[in-house]
Symmetry: C2
Subunit: 314 residues, 2 copies
């Protein structure tokens, strides 16, 4: 069965009439909940041996990736991270010390991002599976959803894209500091807040198509502007596919994709250029426009950009 | 490795200095967190094919059990349930429709207990594994922890104990209405609130020993007072072990174990007896006393009660 069919079923089943559920289990990276005037963001992700990590993976890498990917969903919603709950199903017969190494990796990752691990469960079963619930709070001006993109917005990404399988997928970096800097900058000026945001987990072409669909807009990506990761160039040498193809369709970048009011981007990019801010670069890769669909402009010619990326199949 | 060793490691690693973490990842059923003056309770539990349910189990039963067991942790902390986040790792090749049936079971259970399913994830892997994070809020007078038991308290359980493997383990009933009634009763009177509470997941003798250890007290259970489930008597016929043995050591009862000030118990039990309250029965099974360890009084003789129940091993 195709992921999208099941997700559509789930979205219908779990549509909420609870006034405390501001954004529920739909397409967004997090649920946004209201408890007594206080807004919370929550997201849950599962990681399983054989799909998300190899059976012989270093348990510290497994923990680091699970935490980083979960926190990336909070960054993608313009939230700061507070707490984690983690369940671990340990494969029966897993080598002695696996769980302890995982726990140390979890503690390291939690300390690195300033979050507390406040609950969890450990069970054993036929395969190792990790589930992480991350709880956060909107930054001032947040949360930012996928659905707010407007024609004329600047499309901006953090970092470089593609080739994560060559190593970065093991240790992705949630862009918590970057979104915090952007939201703090926006809160101090009068140029608006980001209109839409998400993280790039399944490849830019696929994830951008999702953002456009949720926002009811189209987008144009400028091929020359896409920041291509060195790893995407190295993968290109082996695959024969152009480096840009890897940057557009490889998954697990865990970079941010943002739709920003032009004045906010103009001011923020100038602020970034003024001094060393200790942040990963932000790059404008195109614009949001009216209509639907995603196009690529390359060598002066525009063509539709096929949504190629990691679509989950069962 | 023994569960307790790993849990001790985890408790040390994840001890929190965050003032927002009132009760963290320790022995209690939930974490209790403070966000801007608002208290929240969260708990995460994992359920895996082959350990918590059979590969041919009805997916609706799997969903019902996962939800009920998770909500039982909130009831056990004197909290009301608000939201669920659920991750599902589907075994590759699982029969068509499994995920949809699971989703319908999840929606049914959520509706039954008035909670919203606000987030989740679906992945595929070598075995089916479900992880549930339940989020709740303390009832007035709550939360109640495992650690507050005092000498002189009445030991009280809900429902009947033992034999859940004969069927009830598939559809446990979280005692949300019962704890809500008790807390509401206590809030209206001046006889105090429950001192300690937990749910019975691994068998009374083992779980009571845990409550006593956390509270720094001992306890005496009166054999004649223990409410033995019919299923425990039926299991006894097959096992040759006395029905009381099943009531004391079978797991997955998901009933509440409470330590109540005597005046609260006297008043509440009288209130229960006055009219049909639509609640499962509450039964006094013994008392909390100074010291340590759990004893059983049977036929006028007291002997130590061995902590026999379901201890998880890897």
């Amino acid at each position: 069965m195709h992921e999208n069919d099941l997700l559509a079923t789930l979205a219908t089943l779990f549509a909420s009439s609870d006034p405390g559920v501001l954004v529920g289990s739909g397409p967004d990276d997090c649920a946004h909940l209201m408890a007594d005037g206080r807004q919370l963001a929550m997201t849950a992700d599962a990681f399983v041996e054989g799909s998300h990590f190899l059976a012989d993976a270093d348990p510290r890498d497994v923990a680091a990736k699970a935490v980083a990917a979960s926190l990336s969903d909070l960054a993608a919603s313009a939230c700061r991270a507070r707490w984690l709950l983690v369940t671990l199903c340990l494969r029966k017969g897993v080598r002695a010390g696996w769980a302890e190494s995982f726990a140390h990796g979890l503690a390291d990752a939690a300390a690195r991002y300033g979050v507390g691990v406040v609950g969890g469960d450990v069970v054993s079963g036929p395969a190792t599976c990790v589930s992480v619930t991350a709880v956060g709070e909107p930054l001032p001006g947040g949360p930012v959803l996928r659905s707010g993109g407007k024609a004329g917005d600047m499309l901006v990404v953090t970092g470089t894209l593609g080739g994560s399988l060559l190593g970065r997928h093991l240790r992705p970096e949630p862009r918590l500091a970057e979104i915090a800097a952007l939201m703090a900058y926006a809160a101090e000026r009068d140029d608006g807040f980001p209109h839409a945001a998400m993280d790039l987990s399944d490849g830019l072409s696929l994830d951008l198509a999702r953002l456009c669909r949720e926002s009811g807009v189209g987008a144009v990506v400028e091929a020359e502007a896409v920041p291509i990761a060195d790893a995407a160039r190295r993968r290109s040498e082996a695959s024969g596919k152009p480096p840009l193809g890897h940057a557009l369709s490889d998954g697990e970048d865990f970079e941010l994709l943002l739709a920003l009011p032009p004045a906010l981007w103009a001011g923020f990019s100038a602020w970034l250029a003024e001094a060393e801010r200790g942040l990963t670069p932000f790059t404008r890769i195109g614009v949001v426009r009216a209509g639907s669909g995603v196009a690529l402009v390359q060598d002066g010619k525009e063509r539709p950009l096929a949504a190629e990326g990691y679509e989950h199949q069962w």
